[in-house]
């Protein structure tokens, strides 16, 4: 029925008559739609990919000292210069935790600290972990080499190995001689790439024994965090509740995090970033809206006489309005559809480049951004056409007929 509409016919023919101009105006919408869809899909794929990685460690619990805020703290335990006032898990607390959780899985303490490191020709920062040597084989996976067997040997993450060009046998200095004690250590192994994680972020870290760590920084028996690897993922809530009941009996002493709380905060951060980036992409749609508006105003100006004729032979104002809104809608739909097809292609490339995997590209959470961006593009086009259409419909038929 609507395809037979003579007003729609007029709009289609008007767009066709000014083909190049219309294509250029629609191109703005294409770019806007692609930008929004690609950014949205990138965000969605990042979130899905991180979620995928994190859910593999749904059986992990991280216990940190209660800091009052209750916010997300132990992001792998690194970061920031350490001060002694920082809340740590004590040896007693660790023993209590082990008593509760020991029967459900592996419990181990983690010393950690961000510090400067130095090789023969480079300088940088890294997270330094200190662990109980007995636990190495259980929680660390080697790519090559061996686990450290003395207080002068370490294993390092693959990223740091790449960045500093280190391999088993290389030497490096931990700590800054201007600020405190330093230690020269030898790399004996490189760890497997692990990706983002909540218990230990070893990809850019140096892991040594507890003795090596306390030798440099002191603070024996003051742990940054206690990690629990449960044998059965179903026990997450039980263990969490038992620890909280026991240790936070009188005062809030510890915070227990499972991967869901970490997932939540990462998803929320990624969500904010995605929205922000999409907002920037949306600016291109504003530019497109201006160009649509311009083209529509031109169309109205050029067709003043035609509007006068239509009005004088009995076309109602709202029909004239409809005709111009159709025209804007056509530009929007053409731009939106081309934009949707292009976003599939460009989105794929962006996701491949920025996220590194297109594993999650063809999921609805990711592809949903295509119709979303398309709808925004078409909507913006129609909104841009409202004023020109209103102006066309308010023309005085006598004046309009006089136009040349």
């Amino acid at each position: 029925m609507i395809l037979k509409d003579i007003l729609l016919q007029l709009s289609v023919r008007s767009v066709r008559l000014h083909f190049l101009r219309s294509v250029l105006a629609a191109l703005g919408i294409v770019i806007g739609v692609v930008a929004i869809a690609a950014m949205g899909m990138m965000g969605a794929n990042m979130t899905l990919s991180v979620t995928g990685e994190l859910s593999q460690m749904a059986n992990n619990l991280v216990v940190t000292a209660y800091t009052g805020g209750g916010g997300f703290m132990g992001f792998g335990g690194g970061g920031g210069s350490q001060s002694r006032e920082e809340q740590m898990i004590t040896e007693n607390q660790f023993r209590d935790i082990r008593d509760i959780a020991g029967s459900y899985g592996t419990v181990y303490y983690v010393y950690s600290q961000s510090d400067s490191i130095e090789t023969s020709d480079q300088w940088g920062r890294a997270t330094i972990y200190g662990l109980d040597p007995d636990i190495f084989a259980e929680v660390l996976e080697l790519e090559e080499g061996d686990y450290p067997k003395s207080t002068t040997t370490v294993v390092i993450g693959p990223r740091i190995a790449e960045r500093f060009g280190l391999e088993p046998g290389s030497k490096l200095v931990i700590g800054d001689s201007d600020e405190g004690s330093t230690a020269t250590v030898r790399v004996v192994g490189i760890l497997k790439e692990k990706g983002m994680s909540m218990d230990l972020n070893t990809d850019s870290a140096i892991v040594g024994s507890e003795k090596l760590y306390t030798g440099i920084y002191g603070g024996e028996g003051e742990y940054r965090q206690v990690n629990i690897v449960l044998d059965d993922v179903d026990n997450v809530d039980t263990v969490k509740e038992e620890i909280l009941a026991e240790l936070n009996d009188r005062d809030d002493e510890v915070t227990v995090q499972d991967s869901s709380s970490m997932l939540e905060s990462i998803t929320s951060v990624l969500g904010t970033i995605t929205t922000f980036v999409m907002g920037i992409a949306g600016v291109s749609l504003v530019v497109a809206a201006v160009s649509i508006f311009n083209v529509m105003m031109m169309s109205v100006t050029e067709r003043v006489r035609e509007i006068g004729i239509l009005r004088s032979i009995g076309t109602q104002r709202n029909d004239v309005r409809r005709m111009f809104l159709y025209e804007a809608g056509i530009l929007g739909i053409v731009g939106g559809v081309i934009g949707a097809v292009a976003s599939l292609l460009i989105g794929y490339i962006v996701v491949l480049g920025m996220v590194g995997t297109t594993e999650f590209f063809f999921t609805w959470q990711s592809l949903w951004y295509i119709p979303f961006a398309m709808a925004i593009g078409i909507g913006i086009c129609i909104i841009s056409g409202v004023y020109p259409a209103w102006q066309a419909s308010s023309l005085d038929p006598i004046e309009a007929l006089r136009a040349e």
Binding site: L10, R13, E306, I309, I313, G314
Partner: protein, 226 residues
């Protein structure tokens, strides 16, 4: 033939004033006149006399500043834009000097357009086709866009368009003004024939020999009937 008795248009002291910064311009000054059903009236007068303004009032493109204009029994002065537009669609057929066909539509679609606006559906009765045939626009010509037609052909299409909703009044604004005299005569023959079949025609012209086709001539001077 119908009895030419019932007035279809009545103007009672119709005044049109255009407010301008340099002072108000009175285009029509208390004009009173009456046109009966089936009449063929020519309106003459020098340029600036107000004849176009008069035609715009009768054509419902504008409403009088004061006075009463009754068209097919309805008071035009009291109408809103929607009602005026509806009256233009159903009661008035407009024929312009410059034909004023829609360049984006074919000849056939130009004629069908007012039909579509009125009935909100395509013409499946053959009415449009029949009208075009009567005016000598065959099927091949009706598929053309207006710029591909000659002046005479365009005016014939315009007449068909004006007639498609069977209006009570046919308004012609210098219908032969853009045509050579031979074609002009042909168009006037068409109009005269329409009048003989009972159509009320009001025509603005400044050519005496064109006005001669009408049975009554009203001359306007300085916004008054002379």
């Amino acid at each position: 033939m119908q009895a030419k008795s019932r007035p279809v248009i009545t103007l009672d002291r119709v005044t049109k004033v255009y407010p301008l910064q340099s002072g108000d311009v009175t285009a029509l000054n208390k004009i009173s006149l009456s046109i009966n059903e089936g009449e063929f009236v020519a309106i003459m007068g020098p340029s600036g006399s107000g004849k176009s303004t008069l035609l715009n009032q009768i054509g419902c493109l504008d409403i009088p500043t004061s006075g009463t204009l009754t068209l097919a029994g309805r008071d035009v002065g009291a109408m809103n834009d929607r009602e005026l537009t509806d009256l233009r669609l159903t009661t008035i057929g407009y024929i312009f000097q410059k034909f004023n066909l829609i360049p984006l539509l074919t000849a056939y679609e130009n004629v069908e357009y007012p039909y579509l606006m009125k009935h909100r559906k395509n013409d499946d009765t053959g009415h449009v086709r029949h009208l075009l045939d009567q005016l000598g626009i065959d099927e091949a010509l009706s598929a053309h866009k207006p710029p591909q037609l000659s002046g005479g052909q365009q005016q014939r299409v315009a007449i068909a368009r004006a007639l498609v909703n069977d209006p009570a009044i046919l308004l012609c604004d210098e219908p032969t003004g853009n045509l050579d005299s031979q074609t002009g005569i042909q168009i006037m023959e068409v109009l005269a024939q329409l009048n003989r079949r009972g159509r009320t025609i009001i025509m603005v012209t400044h050519e005496r020999d064109i006005a001669a086709y009408a049975e009554r001539t009203i001359t306007i001077r300085d916004g008054r009937v002379a």
